[in-house]
């Protein structure tokens, strides 16, 4: 960790101020209806603050933070429902380039990612979309000085706005990571239930590509990037869960029926008590996963799998209960609760389902035996 505790707090305070000023509910609603789905001006400020380069090494223009800082940053982003390619570019792509160990590519590509001028994303699963090695459905073959790709990648986040695609593909000698110009790829934008999200299916047909050198096996690097993304999403889920929970408790104090604040009725009060447990457990899980990953701990896979399903389920459950507790007002488009539910449902799929993560968690327990 390149950042001290006080410095980190100041950094987070600045980040929260920026979000409060520029990513209020009205901003989210405005931006999510735009084709690009994010605010380029705000993106510049996010970059200026160092967020886009948070996990990029200082020698490539980044902050040199790790999983713990990332998780805290994402808590605030999740609370604000920030629509942006941060997860795709600043986490997945930056994480993959950081892990892979191709020094030339890192030096060439990471500075742009860190300063926000280059938006990158990673195409890493095929149509079965389990984000596991078996599902990679792009093949790579040598062509001239370089390579060409064929096949399909699914649910590629922010592909449409990316300046740089990193594609995981099967080469004759095994899995590799390839640099591809997005302009050369057939992109089929996917309409998302979470309107703050942008995703696309990509089709490769003899698409020219440059292979990145890897100091470690490609899928290991992908897993390293995915672990960072999982921690980031867990943080987003923790932040979102807490915000929705607080919003609901506030409403339960303010809303009167039968001459009483509805939070005085046990039906609502007890749901709130249970959700506090949900919300605090979510935060604990996300922070623990970040801490174990940052420490390179042996039990990091267990902690990450736990956070992945616990936070996904907590966010979905809390947003779902929040709507019920609000009553009719949360059944309207104008109320923000459904925006959080939509985000929670997307986050519960990226990059793997709770069922799958529970299975991973049990496998980790078996190995810890």
């Amino acid at each position: 960790m390149a950042i001290g505790a006080d410095e980190m707090q100041a950094f987070l305070d600045g980040w929260q101020r920026l979000l409060a000023a520029r990513c209020a509910e009205a901003d989210v609603r405005r931006v999510m209806e735009t084709p690009e789905g994010f605010d380029r001006a705000l993106w510049g400020e996010i970059a200026a603050l160092g967020i886009t380069g948070l996990i990029v090494a200082p020698e490539h223009g980044g902050v040199g933070g790790g999983a713990t800082e990332l998780e805290r940053v994402m808590e605030a982003a999740g609370a604000a429902l920030l629509p942006s390619p941060l997860l795709s570019s600043g986490v997945l792509a930056a994480g993959l380039l950081g892990a892979l160990g191709d020094a030339e590519a890192a030096a060439r590509l990471l500075p742009g990612i860190a300063d926000g001028s280059r938006i990158a994303t990673v195409a890493l699963t095929g149509p079965r979309a389990r984000w596991i090695e078996d599902d990679v459905a792009v093949t790579a073959a040598p062509a001239g000085n370089g390579w060409q790709l064929d096949g399909a990648a699914a649910f590629v986040t922010h592909a449409e706005v990316a300046d740089l695609l990193l594609v995981v593909a099967r080469a004759p000698d095994g899995l590799g990571v390839f640099e591809v110009d997005p302009a050369a790829v057939a992109t089929n934008a996917l309409p998302a239930f979470d309107r703050t999200l942008r995703m696309a299916d990509l089709t490769f047909a003899g698409t020219p590509a440059t292979r990145l050198a890897g100091a470690i096996p490609a899928w290991e690097a992908v897993e390293a990037a995915l672990d960072l993304a999982r921690v980031a999403i867990a943080g987003e889920q923790a932040g979102g869960t807490r915000r929705v929970f607080e919003m609901t408790v506030d409403y339960a104090k303010a809303r009167h029926q039968f001459g009483r604040a509805i939070g005085g009725f046990q039906a609502i009060k007890h749901m709130a008590a249970d959700l506090l447990l949900e919300s605090e457990s979510c935060t604990s899980a996300a922070r623990h996963a970040a801490e174990r990953l940052a420490a390179g701990a042996e039990d990091a896979p267990q902690a990450i799998a736990l956070a992945a399903f616990a936070c996904a389920d907590a966010f979905v459950h809390t947003t779902a209960q929040a709507i019920q507790m609000h009553g009719g007002i949360a059944f309207t488009w104008a109320h923000p609760a459904h925006l959080y539910l939509r985000r929670a449902r997307a986050d519960a799929q990226l990059f793997g389902t709770s069922d799958a993560y529970r299975e991973r968690f049990v496998q980790a327990l078996e190995q810890a035996r």
């Binding site: 979309a129 059944f331 459904h338 449902r345 997307a346 389902t353």
Partner: protein, 396 residues
């Protein structure tokens, strides 16, 4: 008149007035496309046969009324049995003042006026007796100000059945009055209400200095709660709880094996975890059906059944758990929407629209109160505001 004579008369009427095979699209918010036919039904005394002769009926028994309904149903003809089914006409006939009653009931029975319900308010959902829309007497009129919400059909309505407050110095249930409010006037602003499903089946109605003749009041000033209760009882008996269910998945397999088929299509049918969930959710559905059948059998034998009141709560659980299961079947596909992804569209719609049942028409929480108190006889929640002058009731 014997049953046979009645059946013969009905058949003769239908033979003379309703072409075999003719279809009727039915009533919507009070209006009916077959008004002229309905007028003949009314004139023949088939519209509300159990009502007295001086009130558009023929004083028949409920059983004879059903005979008429059966003949109409067999012919596919509308308009019979409105003594059981027409919420608007029943409410007006029971409570309107004589002149207005004579004027409005025939119009309602012939489907000539558009209607809507002006009940809920942003501040009065679960607690309907807490409405704050006000009616102030001004000469022969009342002047109405306030806001209503969750109204269907308001834009085209001629009248809204309105519950509002005429007296602020008595306890909440005692200061309410009930009107047929003319909707097509400048003081009424109807705006579509966008739902979380991105549909707009309902309106918000903003009422600013709208006027309603005092003659349009149902019951006396302060009788509003009583009138509303009878109107709600009609509504429940007409619509049943089923009508509160969502529009179901637009396509897809039906029947008890529907979830099995969906899982098969999703390639998830062999997943043991999924199979357990299919069993759970399908069981909820079948059990609710069995419960309802038992309730109907009990009621057919003249016994009241505690089960009837459980349907809405059961349906809420069915819808939410089916939505969760469908999401599980889809996995990442559930992130999508739009016509190219109908399964995702269904799962997401169901996820959101399940709240229509678990919140609308009384939240699950209110429903549990009702079951606990009315069915099980458990003591009521202390009602802190029941005896307070309404002005002093806390709101927010």
């Amino acid at each position: 008149m014997t049953d046979d004579e009645l059946i013969a008369e009905t058949r003769a009427f239908l033979a003379a007035n309703w072409a075999p095979g003719r279809k009727s699209s039915g009533e919507a918010y009070g209006r009916h496309p077959d008004s002229d036919f309905l007028q003949r039904v009314l004139d023949a005394g088939f519209a509300v046969p159990t009502w007295p002769r001086e009130s558009w009926g023929r004083g028949l028994s409920a059983a004879q009324g059903k005979l008429i309904e059966r003949e109409f149903a067999a012919a596919g003809a509308p308009g019979a049995g409105q003594d059981r089914s027409n919420l608007w006409a029943n409410t007006a006939a029971a409570h309107a003042q004589p002149d207005f009653r004579s004027h409005i009931v025939p119009l309602l029975l012939t489907g000539r006026v558009g209607m809507c319900l002006l009940y809920s308010e942003p501040g009065a959902g679960s607690d309907l007796a807490g409405v704050r829309t006000r009616a102030d007497r001004d000469g022969d009129d009342y002047v109405i100000n306030g806001q209503k919400v969750w109204t269907s059909g308001a834009a085209d309505a001629d009248y809204g059945m309105l519950i509002c407050r005429t007296d602020w110095d008595v306890p909440k249930h005692k200061g309410l009055s009930f009107f047929f409010l003319p909707m097509q006037q400048p003081g009424i602003d109807v705006r579509p209400l966008r739902q979380i499903t991105d549909e707009a089946h309902f309106n918000e109605v903003f009422i600013t200095d709208a006027r309603v003749p005092a003659a349009n009041m149902l019951g006396k000033p302060g009788d509003g709660w009583r009138v509303l209760m009878t109107a709600l009882a009609y509504e429940r008996s007409v619509m049943g709880d089923a009508a509160r269910g969502p529009r179901s998945g637009k396509a897809g397999p039906k029947g008890d094996a529907a979830l099995v088929e969906l899982a098969r299509e999703a390639g998830m049918l062999e997943d043991p975890v999924v199979r357990q969930e299919i069993a759970r959710v399908t069981a909820y559905k079948i059990l609710n059906r069995l419960n309802n059948a038992r309730a109907k059998a009990d009621m057919a034998q003249g016994n009241s059944s505690p089960i009837m009141s459980l349907g809405k709560l059961a349906m809420s659980r069915i819808l939410h758990s089916e939505a969760a299961l469908r999401t599980r079947l889809l996995g990442p596909q559930s992130m999508l929407e739009g016509p190219q992804h109908p399964c995702a569209e269904d799962a997401n719609f169901l996820t959101l629209n399940a709240y229509f049942t678990s919140i609308g028409g009384g939240t699950d929480q209110i429903q549990r109160n009702i079951i606990g108190e009315r069915v099980l006889g458990l003591p009521k929640e202390p009602e802190l505001d029941r005896e307070l002058p309404f002005r002093e009731v806390k709101a927010g």
